[in-house]
């Protein structure tokens, strides 16, 4: 029996088909299994991530940006804007694609002043695919460029702060950085009020990101716009003060000047200048960052002999002396082994002189004598005298502590009357404004109390807010009205301070019919821990008041002038004060005594 050969059956297509189908079936099953596993991961394991992706695709989530509040100054009793907002655009091109001649023509025609690059250089740079060619382009000009339909040109919207007064009051106003945060000045200190609160829009959107109302989780929280802040600063006075101060700096060795004008009866700031100014709209190009600093509130310094007004006030108010009290002036004092001299050494003022005369000549021996009298011992500085002077300087005049004004401010310091070495010499120096650190705003506020009848008012620079075009006056500071000196003390101080300037009336600088009083201060600079007796660098200051004769003063003006390595005396500061006081009389229409 022959053996049947089944070999042919193995290769028979009809017989091999089921195996292939099985293979195919297995492949399909494996594919299905893979799909199922993947689906399991997508649906179960990665569920949240995929839901988030889906939401992202059709959900519009954007911040509704709050409009930053504007800043106003006063002008003839009405608020006028000095800081505004404007929508501007950055123009961006892709040099590899954008038509060079087209964009060049468009920029030259519509945005020449806003072009920030050399287009030829941009197009010559190999591989460059992104270039900002113009910044801060106003909306209407950007629209005109857009109408040119040049390919590969993009417009990026910006909210820009605009300063229509240019550089005026830059140290006071500050600026807003590229992150939208206020920096320095009012922009910085009142950033919270000015910036408002952003809102939120979460909605289902179409492919063009148009919000649709069909979604069930739509959320719209409206933005709360920032407040429009109205400063008490008078715009015209500010401008005039700055122009006069710039002239004064240019005609002296000083490189910097700060000026503060204040109403002594309310401590409202009417002008605050820091020179040199800068353009807040172009703050990035400022070479010396110290230009951002508001020296009136942020930098403590030694106002020198200006502080004699405070020492005298303390002694007068304690009944320890009068303007006619006399002492023997030898031209110097030895305290704790240190020789403290008067700057003025003319022979006619040696010997027995009155305190009034000592203040006129700004004698250090006079203010040291007032400290001795405060301590009850005309022959020596005592602990009681130091403690009383500290009480007046720190507790009553609030020197060496923040005033509470709506600006960034430094505290400064007043030395402890008992702790530390050489307290007598420290306090002897403190009577004429050395060995302490106080700011101009502290000094001017305390000086206002000295001459306004004795009442300390918290200084303020914010008059209120502007809502729907209406000024709503509201104080943003903790209002303090503290009678720290008797009216008699204040009147006596006014007389002595006016006496300081009587010669100014005689020489025609001050006008008849007005009470203009003041006190100068020339501060030595500390080098290597000691005062530099070479006077190579000096800081000149002057503070004074103006008012009709026989009435309470209307305005206090404080001036500080300095320059690194420059000897700026109080004479320069006084000259500036003279010009400012006469300008203020005219500008503010102060009428003389009838």
């Amino acid at each position: 029996m022959s053996r049947t050969n089944y070999q042919h059956l193995v290769t028979n297509p009809a017989v091999s088909m089921p195996r292939r189908i099985r293979i195919l079936k297995n492949i399909v099953l494996i594919a299905l299994a893979i799909i199922l596993v993947r689906l399991f991961f997508i649906q179960i394991v990665e569920h949240d991530a995929w839901v988030a992706k889906a939401d992202e695709a059709h959900t519009l989530l954007e911040t509704i940006v709050a409009k930053r509040g504007e800043i106003y100054m006063m002008d003839d009793g009405e608020p006028v804007p000095v800081v505004l907002n404007q929508t501007t655009y950055q123009i961006i091109i892709d040099p590899a694609v954008t038509d060079k001649e087209g964009i060049k023509h468009a920029l030259e025609t519509y945005a020449k002043d806003y072009t920030v690059v050399d287009l030829d250089e941009v197009y010559d740079t190999e591989g460059l695919r992104y270039s900002i060619v113009a910044k801060n382009v106003p909306r209407d000009m950007a629209n005109k460029i857009a109408e040119e339909n040049i390919g590969a040109v993009w417009f990026k919207k910006n909210n820009q702060r605009v300063y229509p007064e240019g550089e005026m009051a830059s140290g006071l106003l500050g600026f807003v950085n590229s992150d939208g945060l206020g920096q320095y000045g009012v922009e910085g200190s009142l950033n919270g009020e000015l910036s408002g609160k952003d809102g939120l829009l979460k909605a289902t959107a179409d492919v063009n990101k148009v919000a649709l109302s069909i979604g069930k989780d739509n959320v719209k929280i409206p933005a709360e716009d920032g407040k429009n802040v109205v400063l008490s600063v008078d715009r015209g006075l500010q401008k005039g003060v700055e122009e006069i101060a710039i002239d004064a700096v240019n005609s002296s060795v000083a490189t910097n000047a700060s000026v503060l004008v204040m109403d002594p009866n309310t401590s409202e700031v009417l002008a605050m200048a820091n020179l040199p100014n800068y353009n807040p709209g172009d703050y990035g190009n400022v070479k010396d960052a110290s230009a951002y600093v508001n020296y009136v509130t942020e930098v403590p310094y030694e106002p020198a002999s200006i502080c004699k007004s405070f020492t005298y006030s303390a002694a007068l108010n304690e009944g320890a002396m009068t303007a006619d009290t006399t002492y023997f002036n030898e031209g110097y004092e030895i305290v704790d082994g240190w020789k403290i001299q008067n700057a003025e050494q003319r022979a006619s003022i040696y010997g027995t002189i009155s305190m009034k005369t000592a203040l006129y000549w700004s004698l250090n021996t006079g203010s040291i004598y007032a400290l001795k009298l405060l301590g009850g011992n005309p022959a020596a500085i005592t602990q009681q005298g130091r403690e009383k002077l500290y009480n007046y300087y720190y507790d009553k005049f609030r020197l060496g502590q923040a005033t509470g004004i709506e600006l960034f401010e430094a505290e400064g310091y007043i030395p402890d009357p008992n702790e530390g070495w050489g307290r007598d010499s420290v306090y002897a120096n403190m009577t004429f404004g050395q060995n302490l650190g106080i700011t101009m705003i502290q000094t001017a506020t305390a000086f206002s109390a000295v001459i306004n009848g004795g009442i300390y008012h918290t200084p303020t620079i914010v008059k209120g807010t502007l809502e729907d075009g209406e000024l709503k006056t509201q104080s943003q500071v903790e209002v303090v009205e503290d009678q720290i000196l008797s009216p008699e003390t204040s009147a006596s101080m006014r007389d002595m301070l006016v006496n300081n300037r009587n010669y100014k009336v005689r020489d025609g600088t001050d006008k008849y019919g007005y009470a203009v009083g003041g006190k100068s201060g020339t501060a030595q600079v500390v080098r290597n821990g000691v005062y530099d007796d070479t006077y190579a660098e000096l800081v000149g200051s002057y503070i004074g008041f103006i008012g009709p004769e026989g009435e309470l003063p209307k305005y206090v003006i404080m001036v500080k002038m300095w320059g690194e390595g420059q000897s700026v005396g109080s004479g320069d500061a006084m000259d500036l004060f003279d010009k400012l006081s006469n300008y203020a009389i005219n500008y503010l229409k102060i009428q003389p005594k009838a």
Binding site: V80, P81, V82, L84, N85, Q86, T87, P138, R139, D140, V162, P164, E165, G166, M168, D206, V210, A211, L212, S213, I214, R235, G236, K239, K511, Y512, G513, I585, N586, K589, Q591, P592, K593, A594
Partner: protein
């Protein structure tokens, strides 16, 4: 309810011989009809929903358009406010032809002078 009259001979009841009897029966829709009706209703409600959604969406586009216009108008208003502020700035006023023609007012006279 409709009545269905059925004529039939009831041989088991002598009293009802040769009488027509009346039987009340319910007439119900067939399953196919029910499916069709439910489908139609679903379709109608679906169409109404789509129509309403489309209507709401068209309002959304209108709202979006109006909001864009408001944004544009606000931007124009800001531009005008800035221009006004620039024209009213002290520097502009000082450099104006009107100011140039004015006399220097550095000396103010009063009766008491």
């Amino acid at each position: 309810m409709q009545q269905t009259y059925t004529t039939r001979r009831n041989s088991g009841n002598s009293f009802a011989r040769n009488h027509n009897t009346v039987r009340h029966t319910k007439r119900s829709l067939g399953s196919i009809s029910q499916i069709v009706i439910v489908s139609m209703l679903t379709l109608i409600f679906g169409l109404i929903y789509v129509a309403e959604s489309t209507k709401a969406t068209s309002f959304d586009y209108e709202i979006s358009k109006v909001e864009d216009e408001i944004t544009e108008m606000n931007a124009k208003k800001d531009d005008l406010a800035v221009e006004k502020a620039r024209l009213n700035s002290v520097a502009t006023a000082k450099n104006s032809t009107v100011a140039a023609a004015m006399e220097d007012a550095t000396v103010t006279g009063y009766v008491a002078d």
